[in-house]
Assembly symmetry: C2
Homo-oligomer: 395 residues x 2
Amino acid sequence: MISDKMMGFVRSSSVIRAMFEEGKKMAAIHGAENVYDFSLGNPNVEAPKEIKDAIIDVLETTDSKTLHGYPNNAGFEDVRLALANYSNKIHNTDYTASNLVITTGAAAAMNIIFKSILNPNDEVIVFTPYFGEYKAYISNYDGVIVEISPNIETFQPNLEELEQKITNKTKAVIINTPNNPTGVIYSAETLEKLANILNKKQEETGETIYLVSDEPYRELFFEDIVLPFVPNFYDNTFIAYSYSKSLSLPGERVGHVTVHSKMDDFDNVIAALSVANRISGFVNAPTLWQKVIPYVLDTKVDIEIYKKNRDTLYDMITELGYECVKPDGAFYLFPKSLIADDREFCAAAKEFRLLVVPGSTFGCPGHFRIAYCVSYETIINAKESFKALKEKFSR
Amino acid sequence: MISDKMMGFVRSSSVIRAMFEEGKKMAAIHGAENVYDFSLGNPNVEAPKEIKDAIIDVLETTDSKTLHGYPNNAGFEDVRLALANYSNKIHNTDYTASNLVITTGAAAAMNIIFKSILNPNDEVIVFTPYFGEYKAYISNYDGVIVEISPNIETFQPNLEELEQKITNKTKAVIINTPNNPTGVIYSAETLEKLANILNKKQEETGETIYLVSDEPYRELFFEDIVLPFVPNFYDNTFIAYSYSKSLSLPGERVGHVTVHSKMDDFDNVIAALSVANRISGFVNAPTLWQKVIPYVLDTKVDIEIYKKNRDTLYDMITELGYECVKPDGAFYLFPKSLIADDREFCAAAKEFRLLVVPGSTFGCPGHFRIAYCVSYETIINAKESFKALKEKFSR
């Protein structure tokens, strides 16, 4: 009785749900501490204590009818202004409150962007491997996903293939840096080349091509680098931002869209995002969380915890003989699977109480994702299992 | 550059936005206290103080990683169980945690219901007058809205016309009691007749017809009545519930879907709702608010404030000569406009600093909506304006 389209989504989702259920069963049999669950991107680092203090201060100082009432669908004007000013300070942008729409996280941000721009059959280009939910976000508005094959030596975007695959149906290109599932960061040079291609193609086709920069991991990088700011490279850029990972608040659903001041058709785009936020059923991002965010713009989770996890796990598995690009950000490793069939490989990993996700889920077979947003002890204790898994496939 | 479909929504939304902007301008010119804004359903009654206490208790007693982390997409299991048990106690239902999906309010609930059940061109029946957003919620999933003409003497649903308009393309019927914009409540007798028609038609066509009961105003009624519980009348019933009005929390976005235990294809429907919640970008309802709700299930805003507003305003305008059905719930009156053209009438009302919404917005011309979720003083002070407006059209 459910719709045909939803039946397809339910069927493909049930694979992941089955894994989740199996993990729970394994924990019941072996004890939770003996199951090494690297399957989910659910942060294991505490939210900063400033969050709690900010909530209490907001409750003490804000009139209840303002705090819990309907704001503008785009978000409270004072909060949008605070976010704009913060971006102007950090990234040297020229934003006002009008450049932002506050959303229930990056997932909502992506959805209202695609609802605003996609006509049926418009193409959206993604670089494999990519976060599997993009498929649904594009399909929700009857768009068509176009995959670019991976550079498995570096996991930098394959720009030659991008250039070939842009057509006059191309409405948008998604990037995600630091990346899920590879953890890699795109360099300024890469972004400049990407922007040159998009600008050239826009001129050729006479059509706007939007760059959608999905940035839930923007604050999660480990080396002494300056993370390039995507809108500095290309005018028609949307950012889908989230506080889920930078503040360990994934359940609370708060983030925003920012729109480049020089975006084509700026006023209509902003109006469309705001209306899309309303009619899609978000209406507005939760108001208490909107009011909390300006208190914690300079606050981040303790990145050193993730860095230590990355270093320990990367060293461990490469010493055991796994091949893996060493990433600079996010909280994922994306090694090669030890056999070509990554689904079979991840099924075999369960014998050793290891839960990892097949690369096929991210459009990149022959690999698997390890989400290391877990406790340090889980990583140490998983060593014997990674070793036994390696030995199984070396016989 | 925005999509054709969104351009349509932006154009129709700009009428309401223009009204909102004009209200702000009027407030700047005449002073906010001299503008009588009855246009929005934004509660003017404080959230109960128990809310703040519950938030602080949740923050003190819940581990941060659980509180702010990802729950199941349907919501925390313990919270769903608490909501199920509460329904079982109050409404004598047989719910478990599996009958509920916690949502970011009733708007999200309606959207995930329609995303789950509608194939393109499926028909959804609404009774005029109806909340205008239903049009978008249905169109989002390429459904077709079918309007039933109003009973303007009672604003009870026109069941004869319903029976005629059900076809084998009918996938759902929406009801909303207590009603926006009329405030009327459907009696048990009405719901029984409605259910009989739907059951008969299901047998005739062999197709499931879902009843979608939109219930943000369920707790807002004024007389000593027992509000009929819709799922008691019809098995294929969804409830879209919200705490926005019962607890004055519209900005916080928390509500739920409940699914009747005897609904056709129950397991797939529940799976679809949960997946729809995820892929639409809601992911899950804000987790802090999920944890707060079980503390305040027996708590309601002070209904007497709304009752006093209703009585005062109803008596005032009917004494002035306006014709209006006296409603038992919600916080709206829906009188006849004094001329046939309700848009022209509402434009004229602005001359007297009165902001009210044309009935056409609700699919029912010749009427206008007064949202009386305002301060008592606003109602008293608006009397001269309602009087002058009446005199203008009595000349």
